[in-house]
Point group: D2
C-alpha cells in the first residue's frame, strides 16, 4: 500500500520533511506541497518532483487522492493547531511538527477536532526516535536502572534565535520554544506527569533579547506525580556546539544520553587532545526525522495508533506555560494551574 502525502509548509522545517519524505520513507509519495510563498513552493516541488503545489493549503486538503498531511508551517505563525483542525475536517491523517499550540485552549480544540474526525495524529517529537534515546527508554523499561527518581536535561543552542522569533507571541519565548522537547522527554522517560515547576532564568548574554521580552539562560526544577524530581537547564549561548544531554537516575543505576563529539577524530598536539562538537540539530537528529515519519506511515498502513500523540504535545506545552509563569512570578507553579 502506497500513501499519497501532502506537505504543508516549505520553510526551514518543511524542507527537512520534503527531503526526508523523498529519500528515507518508502511507500510514500509527496503528491502536493503548499507554501504561502509561491517561489518557495515551486522550487521545492521541482526539486523533489512533486506533481502539485499551492499557496493555499486548503486547496491541498481538498484533494481526494491525498491520505495524509505533514504539517511543517513555521512555529512563529502559530498555525499548527488551525491547520490540524482543517486537515482533520478534510479527513486526512496528520503528522505535525511541534508545537501543537502555545495556547492550551487551542490545543484542546485541535485535539477535539482530530478525535471527532477519527483521523490519526502524530506529533514531531523526533528525539523519541533517536537511537540513544530509544536505547535509554528500553533500558528503563527493562528495569536496568530500577525505579527512575531523577530526570536531568541539558538543552543548549549554539546561538540565539532571531529577535522576532524570540517574542512570546511568536515562539512562546525560550522556555516554551526550546523546552518543549525536554518536557516531552521528561514525561516519556519518567512515565509520570510533571506536576510542579520552579524556574530561575534571565537574559545574561544577549542583552538585545531583553528588549523583546526573552531570556537566554534558565534552570527549571521539576516535580513528577510519582514523587520523582528533576531539573532542566537551557541556554542560547553554547557557542561550542549544540549540546543536548539527558540523564535518568534510578534506584539501581543511571543512564546518560548524548554526545559532545560529531566526528570521530582526535587531534593530539602540544595544545592537548581536541575533538569537534555537534554543530546543530540536523547533525544530531537528522536520522530521527526520517524514523518518526516512517512510523507515521507504518501506523497508517497497519491501522495502528501513532505516538507521540496530540495529548503528549498538549502536556509539554502546559509544562512550558507553567515554567514561564514560575519565571514571571518567582514562585513554584503547579502545572494544573495553567
Amino acid at each position: 500500500m502506497s500513501i499519497n502525502i501532502g506537505l504543508i509548509g516549505a520553510g526551514r522545517m518543511g524542507k527537512v520533511y520534503a527531503q526526508t519524505l523523498a529519500f528515507s520513507v518508502s511507500e510514500v509519495r509527496i503528491l502536493a506541497l503548499a507554501d504561502l510563498d509561491l517561489t518557495t513552493a515551486r522550487e521545492q516541488a521541482d526539486k523533489y518532483a512533486i506533481p502539485y503545489h499551492y499557496t493555499d493549503y486548503r486547496q491541498l486538503l481538498a484533494r481526494d487522492d491525498i491520505q495524509a498531511v505533514v504539517i511543517a508551517t513555521p512555529t512563529a505563525t502559530a498555525t499548527h493547531a488551525q491547520v490540524i483542525m482543517d486537515a482533520a475536517a478534510a479527513g486526512k491523517h496528520i503528522f505535525s511538527e511541534k508545537p501543537l499550540s502555545q495556547s492550551l485552549s487551542e490545543c484542546d480544540h485541535a485535539l477535539a477536532a482530530v478525535k471527532a474526525a477519527g483521523v490519526k495524529l502524530q506529533m514531531g517529537f523526533m528525539r523519541r526516535f533517536d537511537p540513544p534515546y530509544r536505547m535509554a527508554k528500553q533500558k528503563i523499561d527493562e528495569g536496568v536502572i530500577g525505579t527512575p527518581v531523577m530526570f536531568k536535561a541539558t538543552g543548549r543552542d549554539p546561538r540565539r534565535t532571531s529577535l522576532e522569533f524570540a517574542r512570546r507571541e511568536n515562539s512562546g519565548g525560550m522556555i516554551l520554544d526550546m523546552g518543549v522537547h525536554e518536557f516531552d522527554l521528561a514525561r516519556w522517560l519518567m512515565v509520570s506527569e510533571v506536576i510542579r515547576v520552579q524556574t530561575e532564568g534571565d537574559c545574561l548574554v544577549y542583552p538585545e533579547l531583553r528588549g523583546v521580552g526573552d531570556i537566554d539562560n534558565v534552570v527549571i526544577n521539576l516535580r513528577f506525580a510519582n514523587g520523582a524530581i528533576g531539573n532542566i537547564d537551557m541556554s542560547r549561548n553554547a557557542v561550542y556546539g549544540y549540546d543536548i544531554r539527558t540523564e535518568v537516575l534510578g534506584s539501581e543505576g543511571s543512564l546518560l544520553i548524548g554526545k559532545l563529539q560529531q566526528t570521530a577524530t582526535l587531534v593530539m598536539t602540544r595544545q592537548g587532545v581536541t575533538h569537534d562538537t555537534v554543530p546543530y540539530f540536523m547533525e544530531r537528529f537528522g536520522e530521527a526525522y526520517g524514523a518518526q515519519v516512517r512510523q507515521f506511515v507504518h501506523c497508517i498502513t497497519q491501522g495502528s495508533e501513532p505516538s507521540p500523540t496530540g495529548l503528549d504535545a498538549r502536556q509539554a506545552t502546559a509544562i512550558g506555560i507553567a515554567a514561564t509563569r514560575s519565571l514571571d512570578e518567582n514562585r513554584p507553579v503547579l502545572v494544573n494551574e495553567v
Copy 2:
C-alpha cells in the same frame, strides 16, 4: 622552619589527616593527638609515631610547643566551632574540616574568636585543591569561557549515610551535609554570592530515611548576586559509584569537571565496552587532602593568608540552611533571610 601540629579527632576523617600529615606534608611533625576514645588515640599515635596523645583536646591545646591544630572531630557532634574557639583562645593556627557549624550564630562566634586571637583559619574544602577544579578555576580566571552565566553540579554518593547521622540535629540533613561542597564550589567558581535558592527533593529510594526526617534526592536552583543562575542535583543512591561532576557555562564556552572512570582499562566483550567507576571520596579527592594541608602549612611558614576562609564556610552553611528551608516551605528562599 618546621611546624608542630596537634591533631584533634582520630575518627574517619582524623585518620585521613593523620596519614596525610605523616606522609604528604614535609616540614610538619604531628606532636600530639587527641581523641575522646583512648584506644583510638593510642592506636593512631602508635601507627604514626606521634609522641603524645590525649582524650581531652584541651590538654593538647595547653602545650606551648604546638603551633597549629588540625581539627577533624566528627561532624555529627557539631564540635568544630567550639574547638575552633578554644584553639583560637590558645593562640593556635587552625585547619578545620568542614563544616564550620550548622548554626550561623555559632559560625559568627567562631569567626569572631579567630579574628580576636589573630590566628589563621583554613577550612577543609579540599575540592578547591583538586587538579581538575584548579584547572577549571584557572581557565575561568583567564577568560577562556567568557563571563560565567550558569553553574551546574552533580554530587552523588554511592550509598546512604547512617540513619543516626542523617538526622538534622547531627549532620544538618542531606542538603547541608552533602551540599556544603557544592555551595562552596558555586561561590568560588562563579565569583559571586548565591542570593536565592529553590529546592525540590524527597525521600524516594530509602524509606527509612523518612523516619529520621531526611531525604535522598534533591535538586536546588541557584540565583547569584551577579544575575547568574545554577542548579545542583544530589543523590544518596548513585549505586554505580561516587559521581561528582561540575560545569560552568560561560558566554564563550563551558568547562566540564569530573570523571566517571577510576581505572584506565576498557573491557570489550560481546556485552559492549565497560569501565569501572570512582568508588568513593578518598579515591577521588585523596591527593587534594594533602594539597590543602600543604597550603595551610605554607601560609603559616610564609605568613600569608589561607583560603578557603571561615567566611567561606559560613556562607556555604547559609546557602544550605536556605535550601533546606526552601524544601520545607516549598518556596524560593533568599539566603539573607536565614
Copy 3:
C-alpha cells in the same frame, strides 16, 4: 544533467548500492540492473522501481541510454576486472567496488582498457569519504601534525567470513580481503608508497580456517618510500564489535580516527559504565557509501577526474600480495618484487 546508471550485481554489496543510488544520490536514475540470478534481479528491480533488469550484464552494457555503471559483483568471483574491461569497451563511466583484482596483471589489463576507452573509473574505497577520515586527511594537509612518520591501523571484523570465501582463490585470503582498505588508507594518508612489508600471522581462533589455507590474526609492518614506518593489525575475532581505528603520528602531533561506541547512551550500574559497540561496516560507513557515489556522479557531470583511481586499487592489491608472501616466506618482502 541527469545520469542513467546501470547497476551490475545485486548481491550483498549490490543491494547496498541499489539503496544508496535510490535514496542518497540526486540526479541519478538506476535505469537497469543485472544479476546472474534472475529472481534477485527481479526483486531488486521491483523494490527500487528500476525499469530494466538482466541476467547478463553485457545486455545492460549494450544500452545506449546508460552513461555509467556501478559494479558490485561478488569479490569471490573475481569478476571486477573483466566487467570493468567490458564496460570500458562499451564506453561507460565506471564505479567499481574494491578490489580491482587480486592479480596484478589483471589489474594492469583493466587499467589499460579504461585508459584506451577514455572513460572515468572510480574505485569503492569508501573510507576516504567517511567524515572522520576526511577530517584527518585535511588536518594532515594543513600541517597540524607536522610530517607524518608513523601509520597505525587496526582493522577487525566481529566474526569470521565463510570458509569458502576465505580461500585465497576466492577472496585472496584475509590479508588481501580485509587489508585492502588499510593499504589504501596507508598510501592516502601518508602520501607515500609502501615499499616493504613484514608479516606475522596465524590461524589462532578458528581452526577450520586453517583447512582452507587462511588465517585469522595478523600484524604487518610497513615501510614507506619517504622513510616513514607503520603497522597494521587485523583480526577476524573482534567479537565485541567492528573495530576500525587508524592513527597517524607526525613530528608535531598525532591523529586518532575511529570509534568504539555506536549509540550515545551510557549505562551506569553496579557493574560499571557500559556502552555498545559498532556492529559492522554498514553502521560505521553507511554514509560514506553514498558520499563516494555522489562524488562519482559529480565527476561525470562536471567532467572532473574521480579518485580513488584504478591505480590506487592496483597498488593496494600489490601491498596485499607482498604482505601475503611475507607471511608465507617469513621474510621482509619488497612491494616491487610482486
Copy 4:
C-alpha cells in the same frame, strides 16, 4: 618487623625512590644512601633524614644493619648488574631498577650471584603494579577475553633523550631503553615467551640522533611461543604527551589499557572540546613506584618470592637485543639466537 634499607644511586631515579621510600612505604627506614657525587648524596640524605651517606656503595653494603638495598644507579653507566652481584655477595636483598644489563652474559652472571647468595631480587618493572595493568591482568586470568591471541603496545615519549644517553653503549639504544617495559608487559600479559621479532624503524624526526647511531620511531612485530602475535610501536616524538597504551585481544574480547587525559576537565569553546594529556612517566606511574617497593618489603618480611624476577628482566633484554638486530639486519630474528 622494620627493614633498614640502603639506597644506591641518588640521581633522577634515585630521587624517585628516596621519596617513595620516605613517604609511601611503611615499616621501612632508609638507613644509608650512596652516590658517586658527594653533594648529591648529602643533599638527599638531609632532605629525607637519612642517617648515613657514602660516595662508595661498597661502604653501604658493608653495614650489617642494612637488610636490603634499592639500586637506582643510572642506566647509562650500566652498573646494575655489578651492584647486584656485590649486594648479593654482601647478603642483601635487592630491588633494582630496570634494566638488569644490556648484556645477556652480564645478566646471567648477576642472576647466578643472586641465586648463590640466596637473597631475594625484584626488578623495577613498575607497570605491573599500575592499577589499570593489574586490572587487565586479572581480567585475563579470569578468562574474560578468552584466549589472548594478539598483543599491541604503544610506547611514546614526549621528547627525545639526550644524545649521549641515546648511544647504544650507554642506553642500549631506543629499542632496548624504551622497549624493555613493553617486552616485559608482552611476556607477562600473554603468559608466553616472545620467540621471534621483526623490526622496522628509522631516525625520522631528530636527525641528530642518527649521528649517535640511534633511531626515533620503530615498529616491532612479535611472535609468541604459544603462536600468538603482536606489535609494539614506539616513538620519541609524541610531542602531545606521554602516550602509553596497551591492548590484549583475545578470542572472546579485548582489553584496552591506558589514558590520554591527565586532568579531568574538558574545555569546550568555539575551537571544540579539549583536554590535557599525561606529561611524563611520573604523572602516569608515580603510584606504581610505591606499590612495587611495598611488595618488595612485604616479600622480605613475609619470606615470599618477589616478582618480576631477574629472569623476567633478562628475557626482556633478550627480546630487545633481538629486535635491535632485526633492525640492523633487516630480517626476522629468533630471540634464542641472541
